[in-house]
């Protein structure tokens, strides 16, 4: 029987928060200055952005192939949702 070691949770929660805060902040900034930006800026909600960030974070330690696939799925869901909303 080996030894028990107190182990890190490898928690990068704080970094996740930094990233999420940064993207929401940038999103707000771009919304406030929409000149020259596509109209759809306003359609992207904080929840949409969080869903994409979560997809990035979920498989961040996986291979690039896995990461890309996970993100593409989340992106596709977002696109479909918005297209449907547009009718």
């Amino acid at each position: 029987m080996g030894a028990k070691a107190p182990m890190t949770k490898s928690n990068v929660a704080e970094s996740y928060e930094i990233l999420l805060t940064a993207i929401q902040h940038e999103h707000e900034r771009l919304k406030k200055d929409p000149e020259g930006q596509p109209v759809s800026v306003v359609d992207v909600s904080p929840a949409d952005i969080k869903a994409l960030i979560d997809a990035i974070w979920k498989d961040r330690n996986e291979s690039e192939e896995v990461r890309t696939r996970t993100f593409e799925i989340a992106l596709q869901e977002l696109l479909v949702k918005h297209q449907e909303a547009k009718g």
Partner: protein, 646 residues
């Protein structure tokens, strides 16, 4: 660990400690197996152990002594690593068998909460999710990692290493992947829109332009990729050369020694040659010198013979005189002393005369004096002289003495050459020239990359404009996806830049706090991670100093690792191998203090040169939870036991 590298049989290490005493000390001399414990942990977690950038082959992981004692029978090698987090307990065992010196492929078993083993294929993914391999060297802070960090903290050429580590730690590659996906999708949408608009003349024109610019953009991307590849190669080469420069001071000292020995050897050879020539000249002048020993001995013999002959002759003369006088007495002549005649005591006189005659007859005849003298007189004829011979002997001694010194110098030169060869025979001048040339290449590449990236940005901006223009030719519903993707691409790109800066500031903040706890020089107010991810010392006026000493480099490296760990995880452990090397006592005490207050479970692996239990234990106060002694039984067996006694 069972039969793992230096450890024969099963060794158990308990890492559990109370929060109030979070430190674990591993005390053992170099080569006794300190690093092996870290390697065992890494192997259990990730299935490979790296030494000097090379993966150690599996057959070198089995304990040799166990293998020898097994005599061809099967030997089990395994490392079991148990840990827990807030929710679960984990038990990970990696093992392999060796039969007849042939190692079988390793197996890995991971049980969570004592349940059935997880699928073997899933183990690496699970482990990486808990303890990502790319950041593992922050908490397995072994000698090699320390070297990397020492170099990275002291050489701006290695700053890229820090950047990569920070970015990997903070999942920036994952964000980049997402941006690439968005761009790809955006371009796909754009192409789809182009197709839909192919009838539109204006759009056709824009599309033509767009295609042209896109081609240019692709060419630019290719150029950028090529330059990035070249830059990476140059960086690798610079690191390699800097690694060689690591041995530079030793090499330079060695080369100085070699120069000195060569100069000494040259002088000795010159003296040796000169003395031999002097000896040759002397021999030409006095050809008898090789026979001087015999001649000298002959001369002494002749002189002795002459002296003996002289003494014999004198004795004979004295005895013959006595005999003549005694004969006179016997023949009735008056006594030469008293002048009287006497017949009394005739017998005694006769007896005495007889004795004297016997003595005379016993005296050796020997070489006639004239003969010896005649032979002696011949010596000056061939210039035989003691002083010339003496001179020749002295010259010969000098030639032999210089010859011996020369042999020693030659041996020293050979030894030094061998040492130099072992160091890789660094040609400093060539190396410096290569390094300068590489730095020049690097600067040119950075400039070229910067130019190309700017061009690429301009092209991308043109592409965006054209894509928007083309997209606007369509009904809003049809260009919606494109616009959404265009916005998300933009949003993620600006976010990545902001995230990078925030992360760098965070690492810098943590690193500065640690640095200030450890460093004794009060003139600094923190560490600064520069724009190109080098490390500098921050002054109160906002200016910065480059790292100047090995101690500063070491402290900066520890501070940086601390900052990276703090950034990467909330709680955890660090295993630090020989952390005190190159630190003076003051800084060692400061590192001890930091270790006790860091909030991490810190295991320190130390040898007696940097830590002595009796002398230094007070520096840790009551923070030491466990102490392990690592002892080498023989070349192939070490043992680790808990306790402070030797």
């Amino acid at each position: 660990m069972s039969n793992f590298m230096a450890y024969k049989g099963t060794q158990t290490i308990d890492f559990t400690v109370a929060d109030s005493a979070p430190l674990i000390l591993f005390l053992g001399e170099n080569g006794h197996g300190k690093t092996t414990i870290q390697r065992a942990c890494k192997w259990a977690l990730y299935g490979s152990v790296v030494e000097k950038k090379e993966v150690i082959s599996i057959d070198k992981l089995v304990n040799r002594k166990a293998l020898q004692e097994a005599s061809g029978a099967e030997v089990d090698t395994s490392v079991q690593f148990d840990w827990e987090d807030d929710e679960n307990t984990y038990s990970l065992t990696r093992s392999f068998k060796t039969t007849n010196s042939i190692a079988q492929p390793p197996k890995v078993v991971l049980r969570i909460n004592n349940q059935n083993p997880e699928p073997e294929k899933a183990v690496n993914t699970i482990v990486n999710r808990i303890l990502p391999k790319e950041i593992s060297h922050f908490f397995f802070f072994d000698g090699e990692t320390q070297d990397d960090f020492d170099r990275m903290a002291s050489a701006t050429g290695s700053a890229d290493y820090i950047k990569r580590q920070i970015e990997a730690t903070l999942s920036i590659p994952a964000v980049k992947s997402a941006i690439a996906t968005l761009m790809t999708r955006k371009n796909q949408e754009s192409i789809a829109i182009e197709k839909a608009n192919k009838q539109n003349a204006k759009i056709s024109e824009d599309t033509k332009k767009l295609n042209q610019i896109r081609e240019e953009s692709v060419a630019l991307s290719a150029e950028i990729a090529t330059r990035e590849e070249s830059l990476h190669s140059v960086g690798v080469r610079i690191n390699e050369i800097e690694q060689k420069f690591h041995n530079l001071s030793e090499t330079q000292a060695l080369m100085r020694d070699i120069e000195e020995v060569r100069a000494t050897r040259k002088l000795l050879e010159r003296d040796h040659r000169q003395k031999k020539e002097d000896l040759r000249d002397l021999l030409a002048l006095h050809p008898w010198i090789p026979l001087a020993g015999k001649l000298h001995s002959l001369q002494q013999n002749l002189e002795r013979e002459m002296e003996t002959a002289r003494q014999t002759s004198a004795a004979r003369y004295s005895l013959e005189e006595k005999a003549r006088q005694l004969k006179d007495v016997l023949e009735g002549q008056p006594c030469p002393v008293c002048g009287t005649k006497s017949s009394e005591g005739t017998d005694q006189v006769a007896k005495q005369l007889h004795h004297i005659q016997i003595e005379i007859s016993n005296l050796s005849v020997g070489e006639p004096i004239d003969n010896s003298a005649s032979r002696l007189q011949k010596f000056p004829l061939f210039n035989f002289s003691e002083s010339a011979w003496e001179m020749a002997r002295n010259l010969l001694k000098e030639v032999e003495g210089i010859g011996a010194d020369l042999a020693i110098a030659n041996q020293s030169a050979r030894d030094l050459d061998a040492k130099l060869e072992a160091l890789g025979a660094v040609n400093v001048q060539d190396l410096l020239a290569s390094l300068n040339a590489l730095h020049e290449d690097k600067n040119q590449l950075i400039q070229a990359l910067s130019d190309y990236r700017n061009d690429a940005k301009i092209k991308q901006s043109e592409i965006d404009k054209l894509q928007n223009s083309i997209g606007k030719g369509l009904p809003p519903s049809e260009r919606y996806v494109f616009e959404l993707l265009a916005y998300l691409s933009l949003l993620f790109e600006v976010t990545l830049s902001a995230y990078r800066s925030a992360v760098r500031e965070k690492v810098q903040d943590y690193a500065s706090k640690t640095f200030l706890k450890i460093i004794s020089d009060q003139k600094y107010v923190g560490l600064q991670i520069t724009d190109n991810f080098g490390v500098e010392l921050l002054l109160p006026d906002g200016k910065s100093d480059p790292l100047k000493s090995t101690g500063q480099g070491k402290v900066s490296a520890i501070a940086l690792v601390s900052g990276l760990i703090h950034t990467a995880m909330d709680e955890g452990f660090i295993l630090m191998d020989t952390p005190f090397v190159s630190l003076d006592m003051g800084h060692r005490a400061a590192v001890c203090k930091w270790a006790t207050e860091s909030g991490f479970r810190v295991s320190l692996f130390m040898h007696s040169g940097e830590f002595e239990w009796g002398r230094d234990r007070a520096q840790f106060g009551d923070a030491v939870g466990r102490v392990y002694r690592i002892t080498r039984i023989d070349d192939n067996e070490s043992t680790v036991t808990e306790g402070t006694s030797v």
